[in-house]
Structures are given as C-alpha cells and as structure tokens.
C-alpha cells in the first residue's frame, strides 16, 4: 500500500469574530456563535464569550480546543485568587494574567485571539486586545478573529477614538451611549456576516455596567 501521508496539524482555525467596546460606565462584548472547520460548520450555537470574573468578560476566536483550555485555566486561577484574597479579580488584573498565560506558552502558543472587556476599579469601561503570544494593550474598542479585518476599520471610522500618539494621553473610551454601542455592534456583525464565511448564525452580546451583567442575542445569516 502506498502510504498516503495524512499529515496532521495540532492547530485548526475554528473561526468567529469578537468585538468589545468600552464606554464611560459600561462595556459591550460581543461574538458570533458559529464554529467552523475549513468550509464546514461544526455547530451554529457555540458561545465564544466567557465570564472570567464579576466585572470581566473574554471573547475568543481561533482554535477552539486552545480557547477552551485557556478559559478553564483562567477559571481555575481565578478560583485560587478568590480563595487567597476573598474577592473577585479586577479586570485589569485579569487582563495581565491573560497576557502572562499566553506568553508562558510563547513557543507552543495558544492559537487564540482574545478581547477582554470589563469595568476597571473606577467603574469605567475597559477593553484589552491581545495577540496569540500575549502582547496586549488597553484600548477603547477592539475586534479580533476572522471578521476583524472587516470590523476594525469600520469601528475606527465610526468611533474616531483619539490617536494614542496624542500627548497628553486622551481617554480612549467611546462617547456613545450604551444603547448606541449595542446598535453599532449589531451593525458590525450584520455586515461582517455578509462577507466573512466564518462569521454568522447568531450574535451574542454581553453588556457590563453598574447594574451588573446582561446578555442578549440577535440572529445572523446562516449561509
């Protein structure tokens, strides 16, 4: 028998897009629920959003198995933190922990593209955006995943955040109201779904504000 080398890769890209927008006293985190491999859809209802702490939520796309391992690791670390400190981890602390966790596997990376959204210690919205090996930055809004090339420039255009090069540093949070931000996110995904085959099926939106956390869904194209 001629051996057909069915070569395998330890990685897969299961697609999906994530968006997070920070406001003065809220944060919106959203992701679609489609999970694909190649041209096939594996499932139409898989949540990419993970609550890491009371005021900290992560949306991740990329390789689902790595994403899941990462989520479980952070959840375990957060439990240990709670046992030791008797409180929830703050969003900036969790953001740093995620960076360290990703960098720890620098030479066999978690193939995951994350945005973390939440409220900082002053109750202000915060968004952190990452690459797969842990470099990260606090921003006012961000997008990651297969549709990010379509969504990010649209957000740049709509939100017109002050340049990070300005001195003195300008506040990066968006001037939008919470409802406007949610609408903008819906528009982003409706548009990305038109052109990105890995984005679709359903949109999951998580809103964090001083009243707590709430979740809503919007149907997207299923083709």
């Amino acid at each position: 028998m001629t051996k057909q080398h069915a070569n395998w890769s330890p990685y897969d890209n299961n697609g999906g897009s994530c968006v997070a927008i920070a406001g003065a006293d809220y944060c919106v985190i959203a992701a679609d629920t489609r999970m694909s491999t190649g041209y096939s859809i594996l499932t139409r209802d898989y949540s990419k959003i993970c609550k890491l702490a009371d005021k900290c939520v992560m949306a991740s796309s990329g390789f689902q198995a790595d994403v899941k391992a990462l989520q479980k690791l952070l959840a375990a670390r957060h439990l240990i933190y709670q046992h030791q400190h008797n409180k929830q981890m703050s969003c900036p602390a969790m953001a740093q922990l995620l960076s360290n966790t990703l960098y720890y596997k620098r030479f066999f990376p978690y193939y995951s593209f994350n945005v973390v959204g939440g409220l900082d210690n002053e109750g202000k919205g915060c968004v952190y955006t990452y690459d797969a090996v842990g470099s990260y930055e606090r921003v006012g809004y961000s997008s990651q995943g297969s549709g990010s090339t379509l969504i990010m420039p649209f957000l740049d255009n709509q939100l017109k955040s002050p340049s990070p090069l300005l001195l003195p540093a300008q506040d990066a949070v968006t001037p939008l109201s919470e409802a406007e931000a949610v609408d903008l996110v819906k528009t982003c995904f409706a548009s990305a779904t038109e052109r990105d085959i890995y984005t679709g099926d359903k949109l999951e939106i998580v809103v964090l504000n001083k009243d707590g956390i709430c979740r809503e869904y919007m149907e997207l194209r299923k083709d």
Binding site: K72, A76, L79, I80, H83
Partner: protein
C-alpha cells in the same frame, strides 16, 4: 518514675496495641475551640467558637470554603487545618478541571483520610493535629463528615469537636432525629444552640461564633456577623446566665473523658479503651 516507653514516635506500637503519638494528635483536636456541624436532607450547617489567643489579638479563622459545594470547620492546630483545606481546594479544582463537575464529598473525605493515614505510618512524619468537619453537597445529597488525625473518618447527622464539645454533642444527640426534615432556619438555630452549649455560661454573640451554610441552591458561604446577630436575637437564644439545658460542664468533660479516655494520663494510659474505636 513511670515513663511511657511507647510514645516517642508514631510508628511504635504499645503492647496494648495503641499508637500514642496518634492519640496525642487526637488530644490536640480536643484542645482547640469547639466546632459543630449538623445536616438535614438538603442543607448542612457548620458552626464554630471564635477564641482569641489574647485580649490583644483577633481570633483565628476556623471555617474555610473549599469549593462552591464543600466547606470545612476545624478544631485543633489551625495551621494544619489551613494546609489541609488548601489540599482540599486544589483537589476540587483539579477534579472540576478534568470532569467539569463538582468532586463528590465522600471521595474528597476519603482522599483526606488517606493523607492523614500516611502520617501515622512514617517515622519521619507527624500526624496532623486537627479534626475537620467536612460539610458538602453532591448528587447523593447533603453530607457531614468528621475527619480525624488517625486517618479515620465518619459520616454524621450531627457532630461536635473541640473543647467542651461534649455539651454540644449532648444537645445534638437529644435532637438529631428531627434534623433530617429540618428547615434551613431551624438547622441554623440548632447550630447556634449547640454552640451556646459549649460556651460555659458565656453569652452567645455573633462576635464569638461563626456560622456557615451549604445546601440545595445555596453554595457554601459563611454568614456575616450581622445576619448571625439577627438570628441570635430573633431566636432569643443568647442565653448565658440561665442554666443551660445540658448537664453541668464538669459532667460533660467527664463524659468526654469516659468516651475517649484522656491518653495524657500516662500511668493508666494503657488500660483505657483505644480511642480510635470511636
């Protein structure tokens, strides 16, 4: 003078078949301030007496959350208790990392008992000097276990450990038959009553005790002082001056001695029943 020849290390048997070092460790449990636990079909309540070492110091924490579904109350060497609860916490985290479901209480208790047992069989180790009341909930219902330094463990409807715990045990023994169907509130009330029994006439206040609950639809948590004080007030169980219902303390202490034979009396030690039989 007579000197016990068989108590210098844990691995030496006495001719009567006892391990004195292990029994001493169990004595350490009795020295610690009292901890009690009781359970119904759906809930378990743990309680303990907070005793400060000196007027100037605060008390040591004696109830620990292990996971959402498990908690412990300890009596004895608090330092050992902290080490063991840290072990239990990491076991719970590891289990739920693998199976995405909570570790069954009974299994954790066996692992804990096995860990304690190892210390009774190694010459270079020392038994843990702490008793643990483990409260938890799993798919088979609510559970209360007592883990002993000897590596023994027992499941209870209600139990008390630590100094003057006999008074609380007497109280619990009189009432335990009703606990199965008790409401959460009644369970807490009985916990407070049992704690009061150990106080030797001191007034029961929220600053002197800690109460924790775990049950169906309620993850393990320690009640805050305010809540406990309100409960004490509403139950009108502060008590204190009026004679407690249980036997006088001297008799209670005697009862404890009869049951568990204070092994410190070295001359007569070999004659008493082995306390590991409890």
């Amino acid at each position: 003078m007579f000197r016990n020849q068989y108590d210098t290390d844990v691995t030496t048997w006495s001719p009567a078949g006892r391990l004195f070092q292990v029994e001493y460790a169990m004595e350490a449990v009795k020295q610690g301030s009292a901890a009690i636990g009781l359970r119904s079909k759906t809930h378990v309540v743990l309680g303990c007496v907070n005793k400060a070492n000196s007027e100037l110091s605060s008390y040591q924490k004696k109830i620990f959350k292990v996971d959402d579904h498990i908690g412990v109350a300890i009596a004895g060497l608090t330092a050992d208790g902290r080490v063991l609860s840290r072990y239990m916490r990491s076991e719970c985290i590891n289990y739920s990392f693998t199976y995405e479901s909570p570790l069954p209480v009974g299994r954790l208790v066996v692992q804990l008992a096995d860990k304690a047992q190892v210390c009774t069989q190694r010459s270079w180790k020392r038994p843990y000097g702490v008793g643990l009341l483990v409260a938890g909930l799993d798919e088979t219902g609510a559970h209360l276990y007592y883990n002993c330094p000897s590596g023994n463990y027992f499941e209870y409807q209600a139990f008390a450990i630590g100094s003057r715990s006999q008074a609380a045990k007497t109280y619990l023994e009189r009432r335990f038959e009703n606990f199965v169907d008790s409401s959460r509130e009644d369970l807490i009330k009985d916990a407070l009553m049992a704690i009061r029994e150990t106080l030797q006439g001191e007034t029961l206040t929220s600053s002197i005790c800690t109460v924790a609950v775990v049950g169906a639809g309620e993850s393990f948590h320690i009640l805050d002082q305010e809540t406990v004080q309100k409960l004490i007030d509403s139950f009108e169980i502060a008590g204190g001056e009026e004679a407690p219902a249980a036997a006088p303390d001297s008799a209670a202490e005697g009862g404890a001695a009869a049951e568990q034979s204070g092994a410190t009396d070295q001359g007569a030690a070999d004659q008493g029943p082995a306390p590991m039989d409890i």
